[in-house]
Structure formats: C-alpha cells, structure tokens
C-alpha cells in the first residue's frame, strides 16, 4: 500500500518519514564535526561539500513529502489519544516542517550570500539568489546553528513520545509509522 488510508500511513509516507529523520540526524552530526576540522584536514572541503549536497537533496525530499502529504488522506488519530495529545502532535509536526524549511533556507544563504552557487555532488549547481545584504552569511549561520539544536531537541522529544506511546500506553502510535497497513485499534496489534 503506497498511499495513506484513513487508518494507516502508506509506505511512501513511512519511507519519507524515516529518510528525513535519519538524514537530519546525520547532517547534524556531520555539521558539528566538520566545523572544527583544521585547514589541512583531508575532510576540510569534503565534509562541507557532503553536508551541502545532502542538505539540498533533503530539501527536495521534504518538499516532495509536503506535496505527498497534501495529496493523501491524513490517518485519523488513535481513539486512545486525548484531545490535547492530538493537538500537541499536530503542532509538533507543523513545527518540524517549518524548522526544516528554515534550516534549508539558512544553510543555503550561508554559502550563497555573496553569489557563489552550491555544487550538489558535482551533479548540478544550485545558483545564488539573495545577495548583497551585509553580513547575511553571519546571520544565516547563527540561525542555522540555533535551529539545528532546536530540531534535534524537538526530534528527541518526538522520539521519546513515540516510545512512551509504545511501551507505556501500549498503543499503535509507533507501529503505524513502521507498518504500512491497518492495525487493530488500541493495542499493539497482538
């Protein structure tokens, strides 16, 4: 089942979710590591090249994911979820998309603020657009760093909440994001 149904996430939504999650964590680790490399390190250029290239491709994936989400039914919340839990979950999901889009924009501006494009795996060059603003690359850099930690913090809370639903509430919240078919309500599907 590729598409979502009113009771289950389809395989496309599930793959896009985990692809985004793993890539975000990977980019965060790579980003933290690469900024402290010394000038003569073999990875001094390779690390940022990889970070930028993967970042641009992830931006494309997230935009596709948003479009896919718009064209698919949204599985209804589990009946065991309280109203405030549903509201918080919706808010967190929306915040993730906003933060990720802001991460892509700020990361893009760090590199392109003075007219240089971003080379993506020597495959194509994403051209610069907004240039000529004093210290734009510094502002973008600060935003990118603060948002990175925010995304990772929110991701940790999101993950812990999923584990809480699975192990403490024993509902299907986590399983729904792992298995692309309808599960019986309430329990772990056993």
């Amino acid at each position: 089942m590729l598409k979502n149904t009113p009771t289950a996430y389809g395989s496309v939504a599930i793959v896009l979710h985990w692809l985004t999650a793993l890539t975000v964590v990977g980019l965060f680790a790579l980003g933290l590591w690469m900024v402290d490399l010394t000038y003569y390190d073999a990875w001094y250029q390779r690390g940022p090249d990889l970070h930028r290239s993967i970042g641009v491709l992830l931006a494309a994936v997230v935009i596709l994911r948003l479009l896919w989400r718009l064209g698919n039914p949204r599985p209804t919340p589990l009946p065991s979820h309280r109203v405030w839990e549903q509201a918080v979950a919706r808010g967190v999901h929306a915040l993730f998309y906003i933060l990720l889009l802001a991460m892509f924009a700020s990361g893009y501006l760090i590199t392109t603020a003075k007219g240089q494009g971003i080379s993506v795996f020597d495959w194509f060059i994403l051209p610069a657009t907004i240039t000529g603003i004093d210290n734009l690359e510094d502002i973008a850099g600060d935003v990118h760093e603060i948002l990175a930690f925010t995304v990772i913090g929110l991701g940790a809370a999101h993950g812990l909440a999923a584990l809480k639903h699975h192990f403490i509430d024993r509902d299907n919240t986590l399983l729904r994001m792992l298995v692309p078919r309808s599960l019986s309500d309430g329990s772990n599907g056993e």
Binding site: T38, I110, T111, T112, K114, G115, Q116, D134, E137
Partner: protein
C-alpha cells in the same frame, strides 16, 4: 556618553582648526569614502601557491598634509572589521569568527600615525600604531604620494598609497597555526584620496 564624546570631538576639532589657521599651513583632509576613492586591501598567500586578495569595505578617517612640510603629515584611520570581504561568503564568515578577526569582540581596527619621514620626492615612511584584534603594535607604512590638486567639482584633493607588511600572529591572530607558515604574513594596501575640509 556618545553625545559627550561627540561634543568633545567637535570642541577638539574646532580648537585644532583655530590653532591651524593661526599657525602652520597644513590642511586637513577627510578620506573620500562617500565617493569611495579609498581602499583598504590585503593579500595573503594561500598554501604558498597563490595570492588571496581581500578588502575591508567600511572604514573612515582623515589626514593632514602640507606639501611644504611633508614631515608634519599625519593620518588616522578606523576600520569596521566585520566588513571584511574576500568575495566568498563562507570564508568571510570564517574570517569574522573567533578563529581570526573575532569581529564581535573587536569590531574596530585603527591606525594612528606617530611620525612621517620623507624618503624621496614623493615617497616617505609613515610610522604609527595599528590596533587589530585588540592588540596595539607599531607598524611602518611605505607611502607614495600619487597626486593632488583641484578636482572638477570645486574641491581640492590629495591621494596616497601605502604598503605595509604585518604578521597577524603578533596581534594574537593565529594565522600560522591555522593556515600554515606560508600564510603568516599579510600585506596591506592602503589607498586613500582625501578631500580638503
């Protein structure tokens, strides 16, 4: 505080002007940053293989110059360090960081001359104090007087070019450790055209 400093500067400038008109013929010039006929540029070797050029886009200053008494020349220059521009956003961001210029902590670099010694018809040696990265050290600038006279718009101008070599490590910027021994030396090119006040 700023207002007080402004008033003090005005008072000092006025008393200076009075002293000037009474005494020497030296004229005061403001560096033409409005029309941007002035440049603060530098170059440093990349890996020892090529020259990397950059500049500071924002600065201001003035100088005093009397063709009859060149030894009385003096200059004062203030540079906004965060305006460093090497035509590459990521590198400029890195240059502003605490690894190099640390522009959040040291937003200004200044040069104030202490003496000028003519060495030829249009050349001289300007010594003064350069404050960079919060460290003040004496620097000697080789100066060439390029030309001067009336301009087509009713003003009067004089222009100079100065060259100096500094070791940023002496100012606490770890160039050699971070970029290698070939990048320890930075050449400065100061090109100024002044409009008589």
């Amino acid at each position: 505080m700023k207002k007080l400093a402004g008033i003090l500067t005005t008072v000092m400038a006025l008393s200076g002007a009075v002293l000037l008109s009474a005494g020497a013929q030296a004229d005061n010039y403001v560096i033409d940053t409005k029309g941007m006929h002035a440049f603060v540029q530098f170059r440093v070797k990349h890996l020892g293989y090529s020259w990397l050029y950059g500049r500071f886009n924002k600065f201001s200053g003035d100088f005093r110059y009397d063709p009859k008494r060149p030894e009385a020349s003096r200059i004062s220059l203030e540079i906004d360090t965060s305006s460093v521009d090497s035509n590459h956003a990521e590198r400029d961001k890195h240059l502003r960081s605490s690894d190099f210029l640390n522009t959040d902590k040291f937003p200004k670099a200044t040069f104030k001359s202490t003496a000028y010694k003519p060495t030829g018809k249009s050349t001289g040696e300007l010594t003064g104090n350069l404050t960079l990265h919060g460290v003040t050290r004496p620097v000697t600038i080789a100066v060439e007087h390029i030309g001067g006279g009336v301009d087509p718009w009713g003003g009067y101008r004089h222009g100079f070019e100065g060259r100096a070599v500094i070791m940023p490590d002496e100012f606490g910027i770890k160039m050699i450790e971070q970029l290698g021994p070939e990048s320890g030396q930075v050449e400065l090119f100061l090109t100024v055209e002044g409009i008589r006040k």
